[in-house]
Amino acid sequence: MNATVATQMFGADFLKLRKKRSTLIWALVLAILPIVIFFTVNAIEHASNSSHEAAGGINSFHDGVRLLGGLFFGPLVAILIGVEAGTTDSSDGVFRDLVVTGRSRLALFATRVPAALALCWSVIIAAYALILLGTFVFASNLPTPSGSLIVEGLGFVLLATGVLCTVAVGFASLIDSKPGAIIALIAWQVIASPLISSISSLGSGRNFVLTQAIAHFGPAGTKDARGTEVVMSGGTALIVILIWLAVFLGLGAWRTRTMDA
């Protein structure tokens, strides 16, 4: 597969995802609505009670990054889009028509990942821009984040959502069921991960919880978003993330290559 074909296949996969209106609307709602509500409520509280801190400033920036990268909303966007990318061909019955073109199944699987990331990150970047807007517009006399912190925050939310989105593509391709994949991944992210992280008797075994490894790379002000923190080195966190990616991309590719179309 040459670069031209790869680019065209990426474009085709991206077209499928961005035209799936229900997924795109839900992704935008999940990414943007909590941020709008967060700044609106804080702005109203500040307006009605001047002792309440202004809605913008660096603390609100950290809260916003936490909403988008560390807690539910960014990961939910990543899961929705990743699962859609992993299952849309087979759920619409089109996968076999792509297979009969003679193109390798691995190539068909491989182009799902960048397309999912492109859409996921477009939504996340739009939401991040909204956080910055609220941070500066409502800052009043509060300090605002520096340029390096803004870049660090962006890198963190892209890492957090990008890794989850990629894992979701692989997992959804593996089990080949959209509802099943969404339920399992949300349950893992929202229920199982915090629960496992809170069991201190598991010790360093908790290092293998993906959200803990990702949270290691969060900006300093978002650290309390980890809930029950698991301390690990940067190298360990990176290895854990790479293991998750390798396992789920490998399983997704294997299933795509071997399944009856």
Binding site: Q8, K16, D92, G93, R96, D97, T101, G102, R103, S104
Partner: protein, 331 residues
């Protein structure tokens, strides 16, 4: 549906069959879906793959296209062994497996763009001609969810044409089409074969459809090829028999005149008249007519009997049913 230029030249004009299988077997657990299929589909014809529901028609198509793995046997598509050279083999193959499926939230053109992107950069320029070829240019910008079944079938053919196919494999292609659509589809298939030099492999349980559209066919039942060959030969049961229906004013005189004649091998009275099997070719009919007139028999009708594939198919499958019956009783 508009005219299409001939398929671009075959890069491997070795004269190998369009499809060839040897001992192709597919098992799903204990169940044998394909049982040692030996199939040969010549190039440049419409070939029917005929069988009742559950006979194994779709399974062989799925196996040929690499959608599922064969348990045993070998296959070639356009001279390329598959699965070893599957990618090269499928470059010039277009296929509709079962019903044509699309992303319903995309337009017809966008659905073709997806497949064009996977097939290669040169394929994009075939999208407009393919849409025009199947008469969907006007609806190309509409979402597929608004298409009728007939329109989806046509869009499926357009998707096949993106490959500039030397071989089209169509699984039950007239399902869901109205009579006008079936007629249009039949004409398109014939044009693809006769004017464009493509090979079309059609699986169907509709005998009439295969008989009207195809040059040759194979009859499959319970995972086995029962017989294959030209449609006329299949219908005649492999024998070349020239039969006539005779309408005469005096059947008894006609029968006594022809009894013992070297022109006929068999005379059977029927509701339509006398059914006569000739010993020679169609030219013997003129001699037979002359003999009857000389004997004073008034001949009102002299009509060749057209063997129907349906009769032959029912003959074969009822024989199979009969032979299977004792086993079923035992079971």
């Amino acid at each position: 549906m508009s005219a299409e230029p001939r398929a671009s030249p075959d890069p491997d004009p070795t004269g190998s069959p369009a499809i060839e299988t040897r001992g192709l077997t597919k098992r799903f657990g204990e169940r044998t879906a394909l049982d040692g299929i030996d199939l040969q589909v010549p190039r440049g014809c419409a070939f029917g793959f005929l069988g009742p529901n559950g006979a194994g028609k779709t399974t062989i198509i799925r196996t040929l296209l690499g959608l599922t793995h064969a348990t045993a046997g070998s296959m070639q598509l356009l001279g390329h062994p598959v699965p070893a050279e599957r990618s090269q083999a499928l470059q010039r193959v277009g296929a509709i497996v079962e019903e044509p499926r699309f992303h319903p939230f995309l337009t017809g053109r966008e659905n073709l763009r997806l497949v064009a992107a996977v097939r290669g950069p040169e394929v994009h320029e075939r999208i407009d001609p393919a849409l025009a070829r199947v008469g969907l240019s006007d609806r190309a910008e509409d979402k597929v969810k608004s298409y009728s079944m007939g329109m989806r079938q046509r869009l499926g053919v357009a998707r096949c044409l993106l490959a500039d196919p030397l071989l089209l494999i169509l699984d039950e292609p007239t399902n869901g089409l109205d009579p006008g659509g079936i007629q249009e589809f039949r004409e398109m298939i014939r044009a693809m074969v006769e004017q464009e030099g493509r090979t079309v492999f059609i699986s169907s349980h509709l005998l009439d459809e295969v008989e009207k559209t195809c040059d040759a066919a194979a009859i499959v039942d319970r995972g086995k090829i029962i017989t294959q060959g030209a449609i006329a030969d299949l219908a005649a049961g492999g024998e070349v028999r020239h039969e006539l229906i005779l309408g005469v004013d005096d059947p008894q005189l006609a029968q006594s005149t022809l009894d013992g004649s070297e022109l006929v091998s068999e005379i059977v009275p029927s509701d339509e008249g006398l059914r006569v099997v000739l010993t020679g070719g169609p030219e013997t009919a003129a001699q037979l007519n002359a003999a009857l007139v000389r004997a004073g028999v008034g001949v009102m009708r002299l009509e060749p009997v057209r063997h129907s594939l349906e009769q032959r198919f029912l003959q074969i499958t009822s024989r199979l049913d009969a032979s299977a019956a004792p086993e079923e009783v035992k079971a």
